[in-house]
Structures are given as structure tokens and as C-alpha cells.
Subunit: 174 residues, 2 copies
DNA sequence: GTCTATAATTTGATAGAC
DNA sequence: GTCTATCAAATTATAGAC
């Protein structure tokens, strides 16, 4: 049995990943969970607080998943498989990717948590590539950009094939 | 002297590129132009009609700019410079990139125009790379994804340096 | 072509009962 | 912790005067 807070976070994640920060209301979110919007406000006072918390939570979940991935060059392929699976399951954009696109017009706390997500990702991949790349940090940034852009393009085109095409030679960026 | 329609399109482009489809209202848009929201509705009956038209218009403008770019491999570097300049001037995401991220929850006509933008871009770059790549279409898709993802990452991180890092070895994708 | 006025609905958020 | 009820503001959109 999952707590109400967890169910709110799960529903909010789905909503943001499909439609962005401004693309859904507290009422829609509450309906997803099976409660009323006032009950959502009981757990998260404002939309800003909810999405900032969600983004930090997403970063934590993501970091946990990273812990189980292989090290070295193989980790890049595992990143690719992770992103692809999210697309294939219909989960929408990466949460931080969606918020990153909108970030200039988002509340500060949300933009800040989004920034921290990418800092974490860049750090993880930079560490990973330290022995495989002359410029590990630059390679890490290029790979993350490629994955986010491939997701975006696949959604825009309505075809997961675009993700596969865009990332097939991902390791050339190392 | 620009027409009211052109000023509406210009303001709408800026709004969508910063905040997305749901991130602004007709009243804000009208204020940008210096008119009332009812006057915006006179030119574009609905938000869907406005943004669908805007996206088709953006595709046309983009295609015109492409006409002045060099051919062959040098065109890839010119693409990169184009995208970078937009970021540097504070123009936000690529319009189609922003709408592509949100596309699953957008009105059909808007999603369709967004798809057509990327079809056009992929076709242009595929033609360009025909003599320089064994898989010109796949290379084209990879390059476009890289550029869109680099914009997204630069915005999320608040640093144009991330765009430069992500795209420095863009030609490796050819 | 632009305006004022307004309709009908939705939004984020709060008060207070249970 | 959830609800009903409600608020004030904002939203997309329309009617009709000028």
C-alpha cells in the first residue's frame, strides 16, 4: 500500500512529463489519485512546492537506478536503454528534460532542482568516462544532450524509431 | 511597419519558446503587442489556430534561413551556429523543440505542424549529408537531436557553455 | 480592426466541518 | 487526512459598439 503522498507524486510526475508544469491542474491531479484538490494542498501547500519536491524526489529515484548500472563504457549503453524504456512505456519526456525546456519561466525553486538533476547526471557520467575519454566531462554533457534531444525528437515525430536512429552511435561522443 | 498579425506572431513565438503552449495567456500576449485580447481573437479565433499557424510560419522562416547556408559538411557547423545564436540572444528553446516536448498533450493541429517542422529539417540535412555519410538520414536525425538536447540542457543549467560542450564534436555524428 | 463588457469555465488556494 | 464549500483571480472565447 502506497501512501497518498507517494500517489500524488506518481500522478504529478506523469502529468508533468506529458504536459509540462503549466499543462495540468490540481483538480486533474487529484482526480488521478482519487481525492479532492484540497487534499492535495494538505500535503503540498502550493504547486511550486509540489513540483520542486517532485523534482528532488525524481533525482533521488534516478540516482538509485544509476547505482545498479555497469561501470565504464557499458554504462553509456545502459543509460540509452533506460531512456528508451521510458519512452517505450509511454512515460513521456524525462521529467527534468521537460522542466529544463520550460525552466526560464518556472518558479525559482523548481528551476533550481532541475539544474541539480543535470549536475548529478553530468557528475555521474563524467566519473564513469574518466578512463575512457580525454575530455570526460564534455563527453558526458554531449551524451546527456543527445539522449534528451532524442526523446524530444521521438515525441515530436511520434516515432520511437527516431530515438533509436538518434542514439545508435551514441558512443561516438565518448 | 509590421502588421498586427506579424506582431502577434512575433510575441507568441517569444512566449511559446520561453514558457510553452500552456505557459501564457491571450491577455499577456495582447499586452506584449499593445492591444486587447479580443483583438487577438479577431485575427486568430482560438489558441490552437494561433499556435498551429505560428508553427507553420516558423517552419517557413526557418526554411528561408536554411537557403542561405553552405552545402556539404559545412552546413552542419552552420546549423550549430544558428541554434547557438538563438540561445545567446535569449530567444529560448527552438519553437518546435518546446512544442515537441509537450506534443502528446497538444491540440492535433499543433502537434501535426510540429511534426512537419522536423520532417523538413531531417529532409534538408539528409540531402546535405548524402555524399558525406553512409547513413545520411540517421546522421541527420542524430545531429538534430543533439542540437535540440544541447539547447534544453543549456537552458536547464543556465549556461550556454553546456551548449558549446554538447555540440563541440557534432560532426562526429556524420 | 480595435475596443468594452461579459459569459462560462477553470485555476490555485483557503476555511472550517468531520 | 479528507471532505464540502467557497474565494478571488485568471482563462478562453464571444457579442456588439465604434
Amino acid at each position: 500500500m502506497t501512501s497518498t503522498v507517494d500517489r500524488i507524486l506518481e500522478a504529478a510526475e506523469a502529468r508533468v512529463r506529458q504536459a509540462g508544469y503549466h499543462g495540468f491542474s490540481f483538480r486533474e491531479l487529484a482526480a488521478d489519485v482519487g481525492i479532492k484538490s484540497a487534499s492535495v494542498h494538505h500535503h503540498f501547500p502550493t504547486k511550486e512546492a509540489l513540483i520542486a519536491h517532485l523534482t528532488a524526489h525524481y533525482r533521488g529515484k534516478f540516482k538509485e537506478e544509476l547505482a545498479s548500472l555497469p561501470v565504464g563504457r557499458a554504462r553509456v549503453a545502459a543509460y540509452r536503454a533506460m531512456f528508451r524504456e521510458q519512452l517505450e512505456l509511454g512515460f513521456g519526456m524525462c521529467l527534468a528534460g521537460m522542466l529544463g525546456a520550460e525552466s526560464e519561466e518556472l518558479p525559482d525553486s523548481v528551476a533550481e532542482e532541475t539544474r541539480r538533476f543535470f549536475d548529478m547526471l553530468v557528475a555521474d557520467l563524467t566519473d564513469t568516462l574518466e578512463n575512457d575519454s580525454g575530455e570526460p566531462r564534455r563527453a558526458a554533457i554531449a551524451i546527456i544532450a543527445q539522449l534528451e534531444g532524442a526523446m524530444l525528437l521521438a515525441r515530436a515525430s511520434g516515432s520511437i524509431k527516431h530515438f533509436d536512429d538518434a542514439t545508435e552511435r551514441l558512443e561516438k561522443l565518448i
